[in-house]
Amino acid sequence: MENLSKIKSWEYRPLFVTFAHNFNNDLCGHASSLEKIKGFVDQTFNLNGSFSLLGEKVMHGLLDSARPVFIDVKHMSYASRLYYYSVVKADYGNRIPVVVSHGAVTGTSIRSDQKKTTTGFCNDDINFLMKNWSQLRNRKEFLLSRWMRTGWHHHPC
């Protein structure tokens, strides 16, 4: 939390911070990644988990300000992403852009669709599911993609 105050007092603050990566970070659960070296690393601790109490505090610390520092949802688990979107909607009236610093879309809209074959897309749950606006209100996953950057490293299954 001290580091958070430091960052917020910088003259040039970051536009966004990435909230999760490949392993547990005590903030929120991460999604399965590192396809090629999976056999050599253990991602299980907090894999697919959601936000911790510390994570919640840090999240609100970043967002709850006249000049918020945005949060990047890349590497968050599906559960963390859904929770984050619900907070952005409920507590911030959807006024905080959702940042995807790098990632791909799955071509499907909800997780149960993941068994579905979408030719030319990769359905790994690290990738993003898009939903139309009315369904978005039902807290399904969506992207506000003005801030989105599409990398290609997760596309091929």
Binding site: L34, I37, S101, G120, F121, W133, R146, T150, H153, H155
Partner: protein, 84 residues
């Protein structure tokens, strides 16, 4: 690697751009010029065949123009700003 491999890879990239544009258009949001193409430079990336470095970007760009033009000729998105 097949010398035309980049064409198949461009199709994979195009699938992303098209899907994003269609979903945004349905929601009355600008569909193009939202997604960027790049890498996260962390050393674990798995580039698509034929698109191994920035050198391939002009090839990719040309291919994406072909694919997007063909798409826009066939399909009409809802918002006028998304139709071109």
């Amino acid at each position: 690697m097949h010398p035309q491999a980049y064409r198949y890879s461009a199709q994979i990239v195009w699938n992303q751009l098209q899907h994003i544009a269609e979903v945004l258009d349905k929601n009355e949001l600008p569909g193009w010029n939202t997604a960027g193409i790049g890498s996260d430079f962390d050393g674990t990336i798995k580039p698509l065949p034929g698109l191994w470095s920035a050198e391939a970007l002009p090839l990719l760009a040309t291919e994406l123009v072909t694919l997007s033009s063909a798409y826009l000729k066939k399909n009409k998105l809802r918002m006028s700003e998304n139709q071109k």
